[in-house]
Amino acid sequence: MPILSLLIFLPLLATALILALPTRYKSSYKYIALIFTAIQFVLAGICYANFDSAQTGIQDLAGYQFVEQLPWIRLDLGAIGKLEIDYLIGIDGISMPLLLLSALVMLMAIGASWKIQKSPKGYFALLMVLNMAVMGIFCALDFFLFYLFYEVMLLPLYFLIGIWGGARREYAAIKFFLYTLFGSVFMLLIIVGLYFSVINPLTGAHTFNMIYMMNPENYLGESIFAWDGYQEILGISARLVGFIVLFFAFAIKVPIVPLHTWLPDAHVEAPTPVSIILAGILLKIGGYGIIRICYSIFPDMAALSNWWLGLIGVVSIIYGALNALSQKDLKRMIAYSSVSHMGFVLLGIASMTAEGISGAMFQMISHGFLSAALFFLVGVLYDRVHDRNIYSFRGLAQIMPKYTGYVAVAFFASLGLPGFSAFIGEAFVIIGSFNATSIGTGLPRWMAIAGSIGILLSAAYLLWTLQRMFFGQIRLKGGESWGTALTDLSVREQLILFPTLALALLLGIMPDLVFSNLNASVLNLVSIIQQFI
């Protein structure tokens, strides 16, 4: 059974169904979306259950699982060679956990959009297109296919933010779109360069196959990205240019400081479900891209430039945390905390140790559903009184005890309390970057120390917020009317939050659930990069 294709294209079926149903039945759209996403989640679960954790993946197609390969576009273009584009999908230890995460976060997002009133038809149709693109990105092993899904993802997001967003939604939507597109058009040039540099050893044709791009033997001697490193673009080694351009294309998504400015705007203006998807899945695409593409295709350049990557990671951690500390808007604060937490991912990747990269992967998973939960919690408050200002609330614990309980757990889990998943991720990243010096990857120890300061800062802003909003005497900006509007969590809301936070605890206690699947692929990646240190 082509399980991955099913996983990718099921949402498209849902889109068609939603578009075909007349508006009379508009109350059924959310059920269609929910059912299809639930099936996807089950399929992703089947993948997880049948996943062979001993397979390595990365640069070896045989190490990928559930592989499907179909010739898609075959063209003879004369001087620029035969065009060879495959429909090639498959997963390894890097993409497997992210796939499951995406299905889970999508499910949460659908749950969070239960009360959408404004043209639900368009909303759920776009959400399902986005769902398809996201699944496609994590499965694609052909660069053309990857790029296709990567760009297709932008369009539904633009409209989701732009139509269902807040007051400054137009600005936020186009800003988000332009930032990402800016990265990706230059990525396209590098893809073209790689295409000319790499040939399929079996057919002799140029290829977009990422797996072939990872093998130095497939590069043509005189080509622009040839491994001998003699080729130059504007006086800089061509491979370095390629690495840097690809890195920035993905780093915008992560996002890194100083290219993060789209994120707070997009988050604040986006409706809750879209914020959930943004934080839960889309930021992970950045990290995934760096591992799958930058590191695997340019391991030599990764080894050369990891000091800078680490520095960017550290700056993002500290700068994001300091910004979060000074925010008055709760959603903006969580958006900046995302910048800070995603900095750990970059630091872990830069360490190039097995611990660091595993930690980065784990941090992505953990941040995926924790940030989704946080944004959902903000949405709960905003749904009720349409205000997110931290200083508008005080003493919420007395009106909404259950809500406060969930917020407290989510905050503690996010700040890296031992026993929760974020702790494992951050601890492994710091261990990895601390050890990096001893195995000579060139990451100084002060970066690890700066990372721990980031954890301290995140404790500061999260606990301070908890204190400001939930404790003390009841004082609400809206007075009496707010008091009645602020009802405690409904069953639906608890149904979404409880599994998420339970998962945070579960992974905090049994991290092996993720690590066991990651391990073989991460070790393989590390061993590839080690050759160049």
Binding site: Y147, G162, I163, V185, L189
Partner: protein, 494 residues
């Protein structure tokens, strides 16, 4: 004096033997005369006579072309005046298909107006004839005649429906600018003839003449020549007429001007460059650098100026200037016998533009003008039209999964391949500017979905669109998406 009479019989033999290869154009000529007569005498009995005749003529011409295409003939006729090869055949087919689409558009849009359309159809046929000749010829004299045929036809078209002052002004501007450019081009051609004593640009003696001619004079002649071509393609710095004319002309005519003539002129220019740039001498280097500079400037100016436009048609004028820059990129790296990338981009370009203008026009009919902010909030009322509209705009930006993306990718690939071989900084600059301007273009193209979907409209408007026209637009959109997913359907055909 050259004794003429002994050669008459061989001349006639040559002409007679060439005629069979000229069937597609002969069909156009016959249809042209037929359409004029029909519009004079028959249209009063059955209004659609001239339209039907034009359509049949174009389709018949297409059949002959297909016949030529299937037999892959490569032939020279009429004393080297025309040269038919696969490139010319494919280009003419694209021209023909676009013309048929636009013909349907014109008919459906204006059939209920008082002004009879028969003459316009006839003019459309002559323009097509001129464009066909442009794609086949490598003789300067023939080229000049063809360019003028197209120009004069376009002058008439622009002024055909003019009822307001703006429209007459557009037509007048177009005529004045066009005739000056044509005169300058003719001067350039006479210089070239003077240097070489030969009018066929792909012959050895022509190139040898250029090599020996004084550098300054050759440069001047080439610049003059580019003036005429630049007017037709509206590249920098000869683009100034196009926004006014595009905005002022009726939308159906704008559609024509923005698409079909560009196809033929691009084909001509690529043939010219392919035969000249292979010789590495002063004039070819000069020409390559000038075109490179023009391409960069055109992309930048077209896209940057489009940012500030409030009118959809004016914005599309600047967008089409921007796309000319990309086309010039493709022209620059065109090599003989490898025309599929160029042809693919041209056909997609034509399709995208026709679709966009059909949508703009459908809205213009009801709203009365083409201001972008008048689309405010209409997306919710007409989801189908605006979804298709947005998809075509996405294709114009060059984003997947549309054919616009594949086209851009193929052009970039071609340029990159040349860059890898020659390591020329100019080509790299072209690539970077091309990528950068795609990002810029997103900004203005998305003003339309922004207004339609993201902003709230003030009034509920109720109007119905012409179902046939809307269907035509949707069909073009569907093809653009289909070719984005399976480009080999079209690419393999070239």
């Amino acid at each position: 004096m050259f004794a003429f009479s002994p050669y008459i019989s061989s001349f006639i033999d040559q002409i007679i033997s060439s005629v069979p290869y000229f069937k597609p154009e002969l069909t156009l000529i016959v249809t042209f005369i037929g359409t004029i007569l029909a519009s004079l005498f028959l249209d009063r009995y059955w209004k659609k006579t001239s339209f039907t005749m034009t359509l049949i003529g174009l389709l018949l011409s297409g059949c002959y072309l297909l016949g030529q295409g299937l037999s892959h003939i490569e032939i020279t006729g009429f004393f080297d005046m025309i040269h038919i090869d696969d490139f010319a055949i494919s280009a003419r087919l694209i021209i023909l298909v676009s013309t048929v689409l636009i013909l349907l558009f014109i008919h459906q849009r204006h059939q209920h107006q008082e002004r009879p359309l028969g003459d316009l159809y006839a003019v459309l046929l002559t323009a097509t004839l001129g464009l066909n000749l442009l794609t086949m010829s490598s003789n300067w004299l023939m080229i000049f005649i063809a360019v003028e045929t197209v120009s004069i036809s376009s002058y008439i078209m622009v002024g055909y429906f003019s009822s307001s002052k703006v429209q007459s002004e557009a037509a007048m501007k177009y005529v004045l600018f066009g005739s000056v450019c044509a005169a300058v081009m003719l001067y350039g051609l006479s210089l070239l003839y003077g240097f070489t004593g030969n009018l066929n640009f792909d012959t050895q003696s022509h190139i040898a003449g250029l090599i020996e001619a004084p550098q300054i004079m050759v440069s001047l002649a080439l610049l003059f020549l580019l003036t005429g071509i630049g007017f037709k393609l509206s590249f920098f710095p000869f683009h100034v007429w196009s926004p006014d004319v595009y905005q002022g002309a009726p939308t159906v005519i704008t559609t024509y001007l923005a698409t079909v003539p560009k196809i033929a002129v691009v084909v001509l220019l690529s043939k010219l460059l392919a035969s000249w740039l292979t010789v590495s001498f002063y004039f070819s280097d000069f020409l390559a650098y000038v075109i490179m500079g023009i391409a960069i400037a055109t992309m930048l100016i077209g896209n940057l100026a489009a940012l500030r436009q409030q009118d959809a048609k004016r914005m599309m004028a600047y967008s089409s200037i921007g796309h000319t820059g990309i086309l010039l990129m493709a022209v620059l790296v065109y090599q003989n016998n490898e025309s599929n990338v160029l042809l693919f981009y041209l056909s997609i370009y034509a399709l995208m533009n026709i679709a966009v203008f059909i949508f703009i026009d459908a809205l213009e009919v009801h709203i009365g003008h083409t201001q972008i902010d008048s689309y405010r909030g209409l997306g919710k009322q007409f989801p189908l039209l605006f979804t298709a509209f947005s998809l075509v705009l996405i294709a114009l930006v060059g984003l997947p999964p549309t054919a616009g993306f594949v086209g851009k990718l193929l052009v970039f690939s071609k340029v990159f391949e040349q860059y890898q071989t020659f390591q020329s900084f100019g080509l790299l600059a072209l690539l970077i500017v091309g990528a950068l301007t795609s990002v810029i273009s997103l900004f203005y193209y998305f003003k339309i979905p922004l207004n339609a979907f993201l902003k709230d409209g003030s009034t509920q408007q109720s109007f119905r669109f012409d179902p046939l026209l809307l269907g035509l637009g949707l069909l073009c959109t569907a093809v653009v998406i289909l070719l984005g997913l399976f480009p080999d359907l079209l690419l393999a055909a070239f």
